[in-house]
Structures are given as structure tokens and as C-alpha cells.
Symmetry: D2
Amino acid sequence: MSAKPLKAGILGATGTVGQRFINLLSTNPTFEIAVLGASERSAGKKYNDATNWKLADRMPENVKALTVCVCDPAHFSSCDVVFSGLDANIAGEIEKSFIEAEFPVFSNAKNFRMYDRVPLVIPLVNPEHLAVVSEQQKEFNLKKGFIVTNSNCAVTGVAVALKALQLKFGDISHVLATTMQAISGAGYPGVPSLDIMDNVVPFIGGEEPKFEAELMKLLGTVNQTCTGFDSKSNMKVSASCNRVPVVDGHLASVSIKFASANPPSVDQVVECLQNYKSESQILGCYSAPEIAIDVRMESDRPQPRLDRMNGNGMSVTVGRVRECSVFDIKFSVLAHNTIIGAAGASILNAEVAYKMGLVFPK
Amino acid sequence: MSAKPLKAGILGATGTVGQRFINLLSTNPTFEIAVLGASERSAGKKYNDATNWKLADRMPENVKALTVCVCDPAHFSSCDVVFSGLDANIAGEIEKSFIEAEFPVFSNAKNFRMYDRVPLVIPLVNPEHLAVVSEQQKEFNLKKGFIVTNSNCAVTGVAVALKALQLKFGDISHVLATTMQAISGAGYPGVPSLDIMDNVVPFIGGEEPKFEAELMKLLGTVNQTCTGFDSKSNMKVSASCNRVPVVDGHLASVSIKFASANPPSVDQVVECLQNYKSESQILGCYSAPEIAIDVRMESDRPQPRLDRMNGNGMSVTVGRVRECSVFDIKFSVLAHNTIIGAAGASILNAEVAYKMGLVFPK
Amino acid sequence: MSAKPLKAGILGATGTVGQRFINLLSTNPTFEIAVLGASERSAGKKYNDATNWKLADRMPENVKALTVCVCDPAHFSSCDVVFSGLDANIAGEIEKSFIEAEFPVFSNAKNFRMYDRVPLVIPLVNPEHLAVVSEQQKEFNLKKGFIVTNSNCAVTGVAVALKALQLKFGDISHVLATTMQAISGAGYPGVPSLDIMDNVVPFIGGEEPKFEAELMKLLGTVNQTCTGFDSKSNMKVSASCNRVPVVDGHLASVSIKFASANPPSVDQVVECLQNYKSESQILGCYSAPEIAIDVRMESDRPQPRLDRMNGNGMSVTVGRVRECSVFDIKFSVLAHNTIIGAAGASILNAEVAYKMGLVFPK
Amino acid sequence: MSAKPLKAGILGATGTVGQRFINLLSTNPTFEIAVLGASERSAGKKYNDATNWKLADRMPENVKALTVCVCDPAHFSSCDVVFSGLDANIAGEIEKSFIEAEFPVFSNAKNFRMYDRVPLVIPLVNPEHLAVVSEQQKEFNLKKGFIVTNSNCAVTGVAVALKALQLKFGDISHVLATTMQAISGAGYPGVPSLDIMDNVVPFIGGEEPKFEAELMKLLGTVNQTCTGFDSKSNMKVSASCNRVPVVDGHLASVSIKFASANPPSVDQVVECLQNYKSESQILGCYSAPEIAIDVRMESDRPQPRLDRMNGNGMSVTVGRVRECSVFDIKFSVLAHNTIIGAAGASILNAEVAYKMGLVFPK
């Protein structure tokens, strides 16, 4: 195999999202895994020894013997791009040091998502938000460094469906979503089995405010000066987040009302979702799914176990599109929380940025 | 032990709801299990041999040797009251034959719930609807026979909470509920394990229309002539029903809007729910829980595994009462689907009817 | 209610086993919960605030407001007896301090189980081992203080069944057991859900050697001088311990060979197990189950969800007794791991000791 | 893509094993799916409409529109080979009709497994048993038709490990195995969720006798006249079979004793298992895994969720190889029950038969 064009570093490589980064990058034609960063505790060990690998897909052979280093930019000098699966409690400072060291950073952490000049991007929703990167670089006096974040995993599927509808039918005025989220969303060790076996936990710390705020930014537009974003702050969003005993795949029951007095019919909504194509797909990015939204017409789909790997985990699956007796339309939507909802989104964001010339080999 | 005042027959005694009837009646001071009815296949066998007992509570000793008979009124002549846990596909005809044979029937089946002169009663919500029984008897020329139904298990918890709020703060104009329902709600064999393990199924056949229609009737009032009910047909209700891998206990995330322009605050809602007492409790019925609605102030309750047996499964548990950015208030509510959501409701309905003189010993 | 004769302290009161001690003692007629000990982190808080209660049974009202203290004998002066649910990594030192402070200690921790003068007692197996307590006191120059341990939860059910058989049919020469153990055996947070959902883990640290060594001591006898125990060290025992996604209840598949050349038949084994009565039952102890071993004749029992609460969790359930084509007999056995396998065993041990005059009120 | 050499029919195509046949054959270079057979109920429908697809891998596009026919040889005239995933209650007669119609049949059903002239083959264990096919054809006067069966899914993993050891260290005299089997082994709808959630069922109908008898045949040899098999009937085998809440992957705890007075050490056993290569691998068959037995040295493997897809589900994973205090050696072994334990074994058997010239294109 010929050399991949870009060398990638992974921050938080031993964690749940880090493992998914490695799993996905190992077959990616654009990025080559070059450096693995983790905590002091793991540093100096072979990746195979440092990591409690929890994916059903096996650990790629070529990372097993890589030596893990601490998350210091000095160790990442060979990298053209850095992916971050760091925990929020440490991501802020570390990611800042990488940006300042002129690395393009694609981060799954929440810390910078709501900053003015930081794009919050789901590649199936709003890759056009990357246009703010140059203003971010100007503001902070950076040449090559910048940060692009992807969204909370719970909001991902909902945002993809709503973006498709907003493009076609205009603004959505009300969104009520109840999520049923998988345990892998909490990392490892994450949710104790005594908390979730034969149980549902109707609370996930900080998740509902993130869902509501991020959705407004994701569906918003770049402002006129390209220095930030006009959020859909008029849209009323209410989320109720639940943890369910499912390994992977966040499901949501969603009811929406359109701003328009003439909302679309169920058939029009179905057709719109089926035909939706995001910019990342049109650009022909490797990780972009063939179908952005797989609309199932059976009465009982989507289901996490059967549909989460749709489009290799990069597609969103929608089902049960029907009239809502309170709002206009209701439906169920599923997205793989660690692929399109986390690591996969970061990677596809980076592929878009590569196509746009924002990241490039040394 | 002195004799219990009333002799009870159970229709569908070998099924999931029938087992719960037996489990609950075995310690009930008012009703004595006298006759067990089931299908031809079970008839003639000892209950112990006919039944695939699936409750963690053991089968009561005194029913083990009872001979199961078919569900023909001729076999139930010793009974003062009949409880029905029959499947909907056969409940209609069988229950009709018992009513005509002058038995008071307390049914968990859906068949007659929406009939004009048939009370649909959750004992923590609307026992006053029993006032229509005398008109039902008049209409069908019955002396002692009648039918009282209880509601779908998914709507139970929501109805209890909303009734408390409606009494105090006036009509509720909008209800959006997403349920996460336990597998025991589907009976036995019910949900195949391949469908629900590591999974959520976003559909339960017929459940959403039942939820919506029954809630309007439950929160409605007896009409002026006592010949039927004025449903809350102006209330807009939208339900999304999901099956989750939980053994017992239906959980729902609920958002509501009050008709009033001055809706109550979160604190007022909490206080109202905490103080709610239903008629069945005030009457001092044996099966009525001490607390109708247990309001939890922790951030992560109610949870099915930890809260479903609250009040011996007859209480409803509410938590996470908070403002809704779309409507006024949102909360989570849990009810044990086979106790207050099914067999327990039927039994408490019968206890209320006994206190009111509608059922009585021979 | 009249005062209970003995005041009890609980060490490790906020943990999984501690919660079960509280749950069981709250209705016990002999012991009154007097003092709750836990770590520095919990000390000074109300029990209700200090504890992440994980049992489906509700926290008893009367302990909610008790102030938790550290596990120092100085705080336990009102207690006649102390129960320990401490983690092994701290149990050794703390329990030693309580013994030296002249408290009778009934411990679920492993630290002292294999000591020469320390009885390792399952109350359905070998309460006669308590005879060594006086020698223990002599050895360590104690008047009232001593320690009695109960066994590892995985070996409990097997030991009960084997003791019954050994009494009737003589020594057992070979035991091969494969356990399928519940998650509650690992405490809280214990097993991460990502490790056990849709999974089995074929390893539990330290469990197999404990199983093998403890079984030999449990089935052994007090030596002639009452200074220790003659273990069944000739018995060959091999255990394979697995963790399965079950909340409570340890199940084992067991194959055994008798030392006798004329081993009993399946029918004789069934009859022996059914008729077995342990000393703790004969003494009429409150917590002793009516039936020590519930032998099920159906083809598919025991099952954790349906049988673990047998005898309020103090009975052992055996099923599938049949010939083994390698050894003589094989069967399945189930025991509730936190009741008869942990806290319940400690409490019943203490009840036996009370009947024997080893513990007494101040 | 150039045409695949052989056209394949699938009997029982809509069932759990049938779905796995389709899933695996869709990417197989040797076999092209040509005809799908199922019951009268499905016949005439498109496969997509007739099938309740339960695999996480999507239904291959090219089978969706195939019309399902009944399992009558007349409909399979285009086929060079037939795979059977039929239920045992109908497999006998149908498979007989296909053999008599001169089709090579590779069957997962149990009906003919123990017949004298019928090879019972796990391709990682005993492909040399295919040598009896010609005698089978002679006996029944067949030219091209014959039947080859694969084993019960529970015994598969154990048989692979024991074959490796037997080849190197001689006969194994005693085998004690306790299985923990996945729900997919019972087909669909199969195990009711109320039976297995938060539970283990210590019984699977007919499984233990099959395990014991099939293991002896699998480890046996072709007799001198090539007319049948010399089973390892002196080997003592005892199996205890349990159903656990796992979707896919049968795990077993196994203890064995060698006939030899000088049994191998743990290290020798590990080395032997690691180096084992079966004939199907040496022949270079497409579906043969690179590694027959993946021996894990970590303390807590194999685990169904993490290891079942090892070698695309065609490898067997062994772990925890250690001394047994009753026999010589004990270990845990895992095999994917619907791949190497069912459909995958049938397919690899057919590939071996193709290499041997027993099946060929028309």
C-alpha cells in the first residue's frame, strides 16, 4: 500500500472514543496513525499493553506495538493532524496546547464546542461551518493550527434529520426529543452494570443542556463576517435523556413543528429525508456514507442492534415517520454514538477539511 | 384465618396478568380465589401443572392444586366477582357471557374500555367513574352484572400524575409522552429475546392510539345524566411507545402544557404531586398505596429496577420534575405495569366497588 | 415493638453487602441496628445521604437519619455485636481492632477465613464449627471478643448440597464445579456494564482458589482439641468461575464423585437433599429457612430470576439431579449471593451464636 | 465479478441459520446463491418480504428480490449443492428427498448426524471423515447425491480444542464441560425474553446427549473399510448445558484428563493449541480461518462479545489454560454458534468437498 497522505496523532487513544478512532483510521486511505497519546499511566507502554480494548472489532495489528506517549505536542511533531478523544476534564488545556503548537485538531470533547469562532460540525449536517476556521486562525494568530469540534453523540442523529427538513421546508420551530442512549456513550468503566441491568436511568449528567444548545448551533449559519455563527436561537428545543441497556447506538423519539403554516406531509418528509445528501457526501469523502439517512418503512425500525452499523455506522436511520397529534410530525432516529456520533464524525470532518485545503501534509 | 367476604374467579389465570392476579389476591383480605379459568388446553389440569409460572414471587401454595376450568360462567357460580386477564382476541366474547350471567367483571382487557357506559378506571385516578355502573346495568337489563375496565399499562403512570395536576391547576392542553416499556407487558412468550437483548424496539402494536384515547377518557368526567363520560377531547396527546430490555416497570418521559396562562412552577407541581390522594386511598381500601405518587428529588430517578415495587407496586413514582423549554413542565414517571398497570388496578377497582356496594357476597 | 435484645453495629454499611445487612436486620427480631460505620468520606453524613442505595427493597425508614461514623471501636460502644461487610483490602486491620476491643465480629470478608482458630461457617452447613470460638478467645486472651467468618458467595450453594450428601453417604472424593455468578457479587460500582452486557467473563479474581480451599474447610470437622479444623484435604475440588449478566443469584453446574464404591442413586440423592435440616434450623433461629434445600424436579430449574428469593433468599435451590457419565452425580445449584451467600449467612451465624450463649446483651 | 463456480440452494432460508448461510455465502467466491427454499407460508414471496431478518449485518442486496420456493427438489434443478438450515422436525424427510434427487446436501440439522455412513464433520476437526461419502453413495445407489452433516453448535469449540490435543498427546479419557450458550442458538422466536433476561436457564432440550455422542464421533476415525466411523466410545464425556443472556457465541468451561500417564503441561497444551492447523486450512479453503485456535493469555478471555467474531467467526478462541486439581487441564473455549458452529461449518465442509472433487459444477 502506498503511503497515506496525512499522518495522524490520537489524543486519549486508550479510551472508548480513542479505540474507535484507531478502529476507523486503520482502514482509512487518507490518514495514517502515527502517534498515540494518553495519560502518564499509559505512557511508555506498548498500545496493546496499555489498553483495555473493548470493541468487538479486533485491535489493528499495526498499532499493537506502538509506544504510547503523553499528550504533549512535542511528541506529535510528525503529525499533520490530531484527533482528540480526550475526557472533558482534561481536554481543554491539552487541546489548547496543540492548537497553539499549530496542529489542526479535530475534537470530540465538549470544551470548545460553543465558542464563537469554533466550528461545531457534524459532517452530514453543516460542513460549511468550517468556513470560520480562517477567522479562528486570524483571531488567535495561528498559521496552520485550529480546532474543529463535533457534537454530542445524543444530538447527532436528530440534527441530521432536522437539517434535511430545514433545508427543504424551512425553519423548525419546536423540537421535543426523548433519547434512549447506549452505555458506550459513557466510556469505560462508565456505567456500572448494577445501574443499568434490567433498568433504565432517566438522567445523563449535562446531556440535556448540551443537546439543546448544540442543536441550535448545528442548524444555524455562518454569520456574514465569517467570524462566528447565527444560531437557531428561536427554535424551542426540549430534550429528555435516558440511558438504556444497549451496547451501541443512541435512539430518539422526536416530535417537531415547522415554522411554516403549511407544514409538509408525512410523505413529503419521508421523501425529503431519503433524498438528502450532505456536502461531505457530494465532495466524495471516503468516510461519507452512500446514504445519509436510511428511511425505514417497516413499523418497528430503527432498532439499535440491527441498524447501528448502517453505512458502516456513518449513516443515520429514521423510521416511524408519522403525524404527531401535538406537533406536525414525529419519528424515531438512530445514530451510532461512537461512529457518526463521535470518532467517525471527527474523521469525516477532517476529510472535508483536507478536501478544502485546511489540512495538508508537511 | 376467617373467611374472606368475597369469592373471586380469575379468567385467563395461567397468563402473565392472571399470575399477577393470583399473586396479589393470595394475600388480599377481601377476595378469596375460588375458581381459575383458562383455555381448553389447560382445563382439567391442576393449576401448578397448567402454568408456566414466571413471577419471582412463588406460586401461592393454596392455588397449586386447584383444577383449572374453561372460561364458562357455568363453572363460576360460586363467585361473587370475576377478574379478567384474558387476551384481547378472546376477551370480548367471554367477558360478555359473564356480564350477561350477572357477574361483576373487572377486566384488564382492552375490548370494552372505550364503550360509552363502561367505566375505564385507574383507582388512583378516577374511581368516581364507577357511578356509571348503574346506568350500564339499566341499559343492558342487568341486576348484578356489569363490567369495569382498567387502562392500558403504558398510560397508567402518566394518568395518575396528570390527574393530580389537573385537579389542582386546571386542564392540561398538551401532553407529549415517550414510553420505555418492560417486556412483561407483552405477556408470555411475548417478546423474543433476539428482538430485545442489546436493543430497543420503537414500536408496540396498537399502543399509541390506546394511550392517547384512554388518557382523554381517564381524565374526563361522568356526564350529567350519568350515562357516559365527557372525555378531555380538547387535550392534545401524542405518545411514542418503545420496548426496552427491562423485566417490569414502564417508564415515560413526559412534557406537558397547562391550559392556564399562569401555569404552576416546578415547586408547585412537586408539592401538588406529593400531596395527591385519590378516592381509593381515602376510602381506606386494602390495596391502595399509602402514597399515590412518590416524588423523588434525586437527579436520576425513577428507575424501573429500584422503584417499580414502590408501595408494593401500587404507587407511581415521579422524578426529574423540571421546566420544559417547549411546554411548561417535564418529568419522568414510572408505574409497575402488571400491578398498578394491570392486575393491581383491577383488584383495587373491585375494592372500591365493594366499598360502594356494587359488589357483595351472595 | 418491644426492644430487640441485641444492639448491632455494621462495618462497611454503605456498600453492597452493608446495604443487605441493613435490609435484613431491619426486620430481624434479635438485632437492632445501632451504629453504622463506613469510610472517612461517608462519616458525619446521614446514612440516606452517604449511600447510593442499590437494592430493589427500599431503604428502611429508621436508618435514613442515622449518622455514619468511621469504623473505630470507640464509636461502637453501645453495640453487643458487629457485622462486617468491609472490603478485603481494609477488613483485616479494622476487624482486628474490633476483636481486640472485645466485640463479637461476624464478617463477610475473606481476610480471616482460613485462619486456624477462626470458624468459617455457613449456617446451613457447619454451625458446629462455632465450638472453636472459646479456644480462639483463649489464644488471644479475649473475654467477649471473637470473629466468625462466613464463606465466599460462590461456594455457598455447593457447600450446602455437599454437606447434606456427605452426612448421609460419606465423603465426596471429587468435585468439579462451574459457576455462573451475578454482578452484585462484585459490589458497587463493581462490574462495568461494557464488560458484561451481551457477554460472559470467564474469570473472577481470586475466586477459584477461595472456592476450593473454603469448601474443604467448610466440609471438615472441628479437631479433637477444639483448637482448629480438620479440613477435607483429600477431597479434590476444581472450580471454574464465570461472571454472567444476572443481577443476583449465583448458579453452579456441579459434578461429584463419592468416595464410596457404592454411591447413592439419583433418587437417593434427591431424597437426601430434600430432607436435609441444618443445626441452625433445628435451633429455631429466626433467619433460618424452613427448607434448607429446595429440590426442583422440573427439567429447567433452578433459575436465578425465579428461584433466588426462595426462603427469603436463605434457601438453596437444587435441580437437574441426574447421573454423570464421568463421575457419579451432577446437578445445578443456586444460592442468593448477598443473602445466604453473604449478609444473611453472617446474621444467621450470629443468631446461632446467640442461642449458644456466645453473644449476649450488655 | 466472474461467475462463481457452483450454484447453491438454501433450505430453511428464512430461519436463523438460513440467514447466516445467506450472509456468509453472499461474499463467498465458490458458491452463488441460486435458490431459496422455505415453508409454504413463505413460498411465492420475495425473500425480503418473507424474512424477519435478525442479523446485524444487512441483508445482501442481491437476495432481496429472489422469490422463495418450497423445499422441493424440483425447484432446485439449477443447483450444484444444497445447504440445509432446516428445523429438525422437518429436516429428515426433506433432506432425504434432496439426497435421492442426487443433490450434495450439507446440513446443519441433527437428523442424520449419527447415521453410520453419514459424515459428521467440523471442518477444523475431521474433514477426513468425508472419505465415507463414496460408501454412502454406494449404499444408497447414488451418483452425485450425498449428505454431510455438521455438529451441534455447543460441541463445536470443545471438539476443535480436543482434536488438536488428541493429535499431539493421544487420547483424552475424561471430558467435563459446562456450556453457557447464546440465545441465537435457539432460532427465532426462540427463547422468550421473560425466560432469559436477568437469568440463566440450566437446561437446553436434548443438548447434553447430543454433545456427548457427537464429540465421540467427531474425535473418532474412519473405519478400515471406509463404511463408517470408529467413535471414541471409551472417552467419558459429561456435559451440562446452560442458556445465558448473550446474543451470539457459545462459551464452555472444560476440564479434561488424558489417557496417558504423562499428560502434557499447561505450556505444552498452549503451544499445541496455538500451532494446530486443520486440513481445511492446509487445503487453502476460502472460509478456513488463518488461525484455527486463537489462544489468549490474558486472565479473562475468551469473552463472547469480544471474541466471537475472531477469524470472521470461523476461529475458535481458547483461554485460561491451567491445571485442573481434579483432572489434568482446564480451559475456557468460545465458538460462534451460528458461524463455525452452524452455517459456516457447512459452507467450509462444502469447500473441502469441492477441493476433493465430491461436488462440482453441472
